[in-house]
Symmetry: C2
Subunit: 180 residues, 2 copies
């Protein structure tokens, strides 16, 4: 950040009065500009014991596989965001179910929130951000070609819980640099 989005003047980095962290502060109008973590919402869509994965058509990690997920928009709930991303990336309509995983990706200032989901019909296909979309059994998951560590964590917990007949939620942190 170089300029104030309110008045267009240069910003400087300083700790505002009463605050404890450096912020971008406008040198003219004094507006404090905060930078906060972004929410990424996704789901594991299930149909007859198989799950839906997308091969990414965009960077980062073009050509690698992911669960449908993306940035939450203003005005929607977490569940609505997860369902919307699934439709955009995999053209699949889902019912969002229980919370599965919360991945604090502190190195990227993101929080990834993943739900279990049930496909409402067997229809799916590649959205504009996907090269290919498919339903995979547990034995067919391309573990070595997954795009993001948060997706891998999500899928491992999904299958662990399914094997154990549980519906738990799981928190973890991805602090070290790695493709997420």
């Amino acid at each position: 950040m170089n300029f104030c989005s309110n008045c267009g003047s240069p910003v400087e980095t300083k700790v505002p009065p009463g605050d404890h962290l450096p912020r971008f502060v406008c040198t003219s109008c004094g507006t404090v500009h905060y930078k906060n973590p972004l929410l990424v919402l996704g789901c594991v869509p299930e149909w007859e014991n198989k799950i839906l994965l997308c091969k990414r058509a965009i960077e980062p990690r073009l050509g690698f596989w992911t669960v449908p997920a993306g940035f939450m928009e203003n005005g929607e709930t977490m569940q609505a965001a997860a369902a919307r991303e699934c439709y955009e990336e995999a053209l699949a309509k889902v019912e969002i179910r229980s919370l599965l995983a919360v991945v604090n990706v502190t190195r990227a200032n993101q929080v990834h929130v993943m739900f279990r989901a049930k496909m409402l019909t067997p229809e799916f296909g590649p959205g504009t951000e996907s090269l290919e979309v498919g339903l995979y059994a547990e034995s067919e998951i391309p573990w070595s070609d997954l795009a993001f560590a948060s997706g891998e964590y999500t899928l491992r917990k999904y299958f662990e819980d399914r094997a154990a007949g549980r519906d738990d939620y799981h928190f973890t942190e991805l602090a070290a640099r790695r493709a997420i």
Copy 2:
């Protein structure tokens, strides 16, 4: 938003190529500026069957009561944010425990995430954002003087679950305007 934070030129509102929603786009350098929901993290700190509440020293809702909560910062986990806010507002050190409530405050573009917490010592006091801090039994909660609807929802679920001996998590949406 009026000006580009990258180059200082005016922004316009338009749907970028490949996108489906209007964004702030720089008329000069072309940078797309996204606006996304903010995370508010909080907890219900417990000590010997009483819970810790703060009387707000700042707007909004100055003079009303709240559980310790505030905006999550870059570089921290949800749990770290909840514990930090508790220390800042109530000078209480806590261990964050299970997930209690996720409140999608769609009308304010916020997501409030609340955990159960255990105070590590009986020490507490008003931080700079609090007028007063106290431990309250369920029968003493000032229900009609709570600052935010998300806090009220959180406390109701906390006591419902405690009465039932459960440790569940709860999602809700606050869409209509009301003091949150």
